[in-house]
Amino acid sequence: MAEDAGLRVVVQEEPFDFGAEAERFAAERSDMGAVVTFTGVVRDVTGGLEGMEIEHYPGMTEKALAKIAAEAQARWSLGEVLVIHRYGKMTAGERIMMVATAAPHRKNAFEAAEFLMDYLKSRAPFWKKERAEGGQSWVAAKDEDEAALDRW
């Protein structure tokens, strides 16, 4: 875990408590009018997903996330930024990760959260593998995720 001026980055195997983290993040932010959270959930599109396993690059992961978070914070004058990302095994419906941003106005909080997600998707060293009835396979990166970075 890296803790800096209003910056918290957590990379862990165990589940996190989304509601409690969201509550804690939003608590007593009387200088910030807007709080945005995003949570990614293991999605079972076909109903046949047995689970997902996320591999990561210990050391680089924390650095990459802290860098992305610090950039968002500076660029949108954010009050606080929170990034939590899990690795290891999880099943459908479990939360994979969350980000949260706090800013004086909603536009900045939203944009910063989207920026964090876009960068985190394609620039933080995580790789997803899905386990279904037919076997297991690495999730392919999507062109649209790479293209999403052009916006920033």
Binding site: Y57, K63, M117, K121, A124, F126, W127, W138, A140, A141
Partner: protein, 82 residues
Amino acid sequence: MMDVLYFAWVRERIGLPKEKIETQAATVAALIDELRAREERYAMAFSDLSALRVAVDQELTDFDAPLAGVREVAFFPPMTGG
């Protein structure tokens, strides 16, 4: 002497997550050429560079990055976090 790390399907194809490599390669590309020449499984893993990404000392970079003074190089497919 540097640590070379492999992740996701690159790790699976090569069959190990990490190895120490003695090399004089000046760039990542030169290191890849050396690895390809070693064994079929390396040649396979590095057959399509457009499907690979590289980090040097835990920073994303590209294949012409220099290796002087570098301690750790990692190869992996495009990332799929979030």
